[in-house]
């Protein structure tokens, strides 16, 4: 197995460390003892073919499907993540492929969806919503005219930008990007990659899940490859090429081990 870091106590310094994760869906063994970790402000590319277990792994981490077995350490402390709300409390935000935005609502209302700043009696503080939204968008270099613009009026890339800005605004320590470029044009995808680089500048770690190695290769620093629910490789970008990665993705786990 190709691995870069396996000291016993490395979870002390890593941001998140998942050890021996198992997940069954009925009779399907979706995760077969996966180890996974992310350091502070590190961008990790999580790659693998369809059904490799990428989405399952991050859904375990974001609280959608609690794991059946395994331990999760966040900032050195053992945690159990049982709901998305709890994951967010820890500082784990997820940007989904099916955009987690309501198209007919304004940018500001989307950014603060479920966590609205309020004055007395629960009435919205619209000024704070507007100002803070623009601030969050500026911080990832996304320049939009007004926080009252409807999401439906934005391009696909800008929408992902809004979702990323939302994660940033709520002081995420780790942002999970689940296929953020999948439905985008080349130009829009480039824009999203720029946003991801901004995250790193802000000191935020990210897990970037994608099929498209040409999207994750320029931004990720390390790659974790899953295949049929197992981790088949964990490599630094310096030690690997896109060709080698593609090869690892399609090689069955038994072949890599031997």
């Amino acid at each position: 197995m190709v691995t870069h870091n396996s000291e016993k106590n490395s979870h002390k310094k890593s941001l998140v460390k998942m050890i021996n994760m198992h997940k069954w869906f009925g009779k399907v063994h979706a995760l077969r003892g996966v180890d996974f970790e992310v350091d502070h402000s590190e961008i990790v590319g999580l790659v693998g073919d369809n059904g490799a277990g990428k989405s399952t792994l991050i859904k375990v981490l974001s609280g959608f499907h609690p794991a059946d077995e395994g331990e999760i350490y966040f900032e050195g402390k053992k945690v159990t993540v049982t709901s998305p709300r709890q994951a967010r409390k820890l500082g784990i935000e997820t940007v989904y492929q099916e955009q987690a935005l309501a198209p007919e609502m304004s940018i500001a209302r989307n950014i603060f969806m479920g966590r609205e700043p309020v004055r007395s009696l629960g009435f919205l503080n619209k000024k704070a919503m507007g100002d803070e939204s623009m601030e969050a968008l500026e911080s990832i270099e996304l320049h939009l005219r007004s926080p009252d613009t409807l999401i439906a009026m934005l391009s696909g890339g800008e929408r992902q930008g809004v979702a990323i800005a939302r994660a940033l605004h709520f002081k995420a320590k780790l942002v999970i990007l689940d296929e953020p470029t999948i439905a985008l044009s080349i130009k829009e995808a480039q824009q999203v990659l720029e946003f991801i680089k901004q995250l790193k500048k802000e000191g935020i770690a990210a897990i970037f899940i994608t099929h498209n190695l040409y999207h994750s290769f320029p931004v990720a620093e390390r790659f974790v490859i899953l295949n049929r629910g197992e981790r088949v490789a964990d490599v630094r970008k310096e030690d690997v090429s896109i060709e080698k990665l593609s090869e690892l993705i399609v090689t069955p786990p038994s072949k890599v081990d031997s």
């Binding site: 955009q99 987690a100 309501a102 198209p103 209302r109 969806m113 479920g114 919205l124 009026m153």
Partner: protein, 278 residues
Amino acid sequence: MIPEIGIVTLGVGMLMICAEFDLSVGSVLPFCAFIFITLIKNGLNTFFALVIVLVAGAIFGLINGLITVKGYIPSFITTLGTMLLWRGVLYVITRMMPFDLRAYLQPGSVFESIFIHEIGGFFPIQVIWFVIVGLILGFLLHFHRFGNWVYATGGNRLAAKAMGINTDLVKVTCFIIVGVLCSLVGVMETLRLETFASTLGRGFELKAIAASVVGGTFLGGGIGSIVGIILGILTIEFLENGLILMRVPVFGISAFIGLAIIIFVLLNTYIERKRMGK
């Protein structure tokens, strides 16, 4: 009366924004009116009776809401069921006989003048009720945190859930609001007509949906506004009254209203598409 259908429509429209329907309003309304008249028939204080009726309305809404969100079935079906259920139960209990309000409540009471009273001899107090309900729901929907949850629930339920909004609670709350408004209007109508009839509020369900849609509320949820809903109800009611005044044969009026609804919604959709640049 515009205020009566209007108050119900405000609730139904808000429910539609969070992507649910209530077809049972035309049954819940007379059922609450029946509860009211039965209570005062038994000598209960009118104000106390009103409180009980409002609670009953809330429970009717709660039942619709819980069946919908806990049973994972479309509210169209839930409320179609409860519409027939409550109507049938009501018909059996009352044997479809009307009750005379004046047998239990003398005219000119303070209670009555709060709900049906013509200020200065011409301005119906019901309009003020309509405005009050409109303002409350308007503030709630457009300026309150809850309104943001309603739009998010209707606009993208998965996103709302992922952001930690309890969408089930939002929906059930909207159902309860509709139930309470129905009970309020049930009492108002009973007082105004001085009679309880088990056919009160019949046809309100479709008229309320039609008015909401004419006012720009999207059937799939997520789009709509209180101002739009109010304009929608005014449009439908003025159209209906106008057609009567123009001596259009009464039995043909529904044809015109049907056409008008289609035309308005076509226009709405057209404008929406233009705005989105598609």
